[in-house]
């Protein structure tokens, strides 16, 4: 009996000490990890869709609440502003759409005039060589200069209809946010 109590006590102590240390380390690394994830996953797309800014859109990012999910938790939208002389002239926000395999994430840049500056695919799991062609400039350039009011329709890629539609619905989701929260964005 004493043996069992000793075993339980030792394992509990080791587990508790380990949990304590790990929670401390997690707290210390949380902010840098978030920054790194955004930097490596989103920054290439943000840099592609925004040009001519003199700030760091990643550091200046803001979040706006765009509603709640089924559990009542707020859904947050991250906004990357492009500023010149302290004034926001364009923003990049991300929308998602359903592709042929899984979700396609698209970063959409919108300027103050209400035009799309450019789009960039942040994440996708489309078929390499077929659906993955939505990431190519030949497709993404079709969105440039389109007005943000109303649904956007561009020519899809032949052979990659689902992926093209997924990218389009992602763009339209982002534009939906732009139209609904215009006051807060600029």
């Amino acid at each position: 009996m004493r043996d069992i109590i000793r075993m339980i006590a030792v394992l509990t102590l080791i587990g508790a000490a380990s949990g304590l240390v790990l929670s401390l380390i997690y707290g210390l690394t949380k902010a840098p990890i978030e920054y790194q994830t955004i930097k490596f996953v989103k920054e290439p797309a943000v840099k592609k869709v925004l040009t001519g800014y003199d700030n760091d859109p990643i550091l200046d990012r803001t979040t706006i609440s765009v509603g709640t999910d089924e559990r009542g938790k707020p859904i947050e939208l991250v906004v990357f502003p492009a500023k010149k002389n302290g004034e926001t002239f364009a923003v990049a926000i991300e929308g998602t759409g359903k592709g042929y395999h899984g979700t396609i994430g698209v970063m959409v840049g919108v300027n103050k005039k209400g035009e799309i500056t450019d789009i960039g695919i942040t994440s996708h799991s489309e078929t390499p060589g077929i659906g993955s062609r939505v990431t190519e400039e030949a497709f993404t350039a079709r969105f440039k200069g389109k007005p943000v009011t109303g649904e956007i329709q561009v020519d899809g890629i032949s052979g990659a209809t689902y992926s093209s539609k997924g990218a389009m619905s992602a763009v339209n989701e982002a534009l939906g946010y732009v139209n609904t929260f215009k006051q807060e964005l600029f």
Binding site: D3, S18, T29, Q36
Partner: protein, 211 residues
């Protein structure tokens, strides 16, 4: 202090983990597509090995033998999570390449093997020397294996990412053996290195009196 030196240096040749013990082959084969990746994996393993050895050794009288493996795994897993978090926060590209193999350090049999076979029976100083030696041996092995595969498979050395491409050492018309970067290339490179090490040992043994 001669034996302390012996505990440290044995990891560099006589029990060099992936080659002599042929242990811990999963990360050895999977992540050594470039020298830097191999070194990153090796250093992460070394960190875990040093601290798990130290703590297992410090707690060796305190941990009942019946639950020692469970305790060792908790200790090892804690340090693996620390490595994972720190790497994700400060070496994101390396973290992305090594991916699933970082959490898998928990079940790397070199680490549990050292905890069970050495650290649980020796004092903390010896255990530190043992962990450092084995870890460095592992790191060097992975770096050499990774560099050979990188050299033959991509023609470059010390590649880290697109911004730090390292050196392109092969001549311009060199056609890379792309298969060296694939799993079979790992086995072939490992086999050739093992053969070389056995050859060296054989020559040494013959010189030392034909044992």
């Amino acid at each position: 202090m001669a034996s302390l030196r012996a505990e440290f240096t044995k990891g560099l040749w006589t029990v060099l983990p992936p080659f002599r013990l042929v242990l811990g082959l999963c990360p050895t084969l999977a992540v050594t597509t470039t020298g830097i990746n191999g070194m990153g994996m090796g250093l992460a393993t070394t960190f875990v090995l040093i601290f798990s050895n130290l703590f297992v050794s410090l707690l060796r009288r305190f941990i009942p033998t019946q639950v020692r493996i469970a305790s060792f795994i908790v200790i090892i897993a804690s340090f693996v999570v620390i490595v994972e978090l720190v790497m994700q926060a400060y070496f994101y590209q390396l973290f992305k390449v090594l991916g699933i193999f970082i959490p898998l350090i928990v079940v790397n049999c070199i680490i549990l093997g050292r905890a069970e076979a050495f650290a649980s029976k020796n004092n903390p100083v010896m255990s530190l020397a043992d962990g450092l030696g084995i870890g460095l041996g592992f790191t060097i092995s992975l770096f050499v294996l990774g560099s050979i595969r990188e050299l033959l498979g991509a023609g470059s050395l010390l590649y880290y990412d697109a911004a730090h491409p390292g050196f392109h050492v092969m001549w311009a018309s060199f056609e890379p053996f792309a298969f060296m970067l694939k799993p079979p290339g790992a086995f072939i490179a490992l086999g050739i290195l093992l053969a070389f090490m056995n050859l060296i040992s054989q020559i040494q043994a013959q010189k030392g009196g034909g044992r």
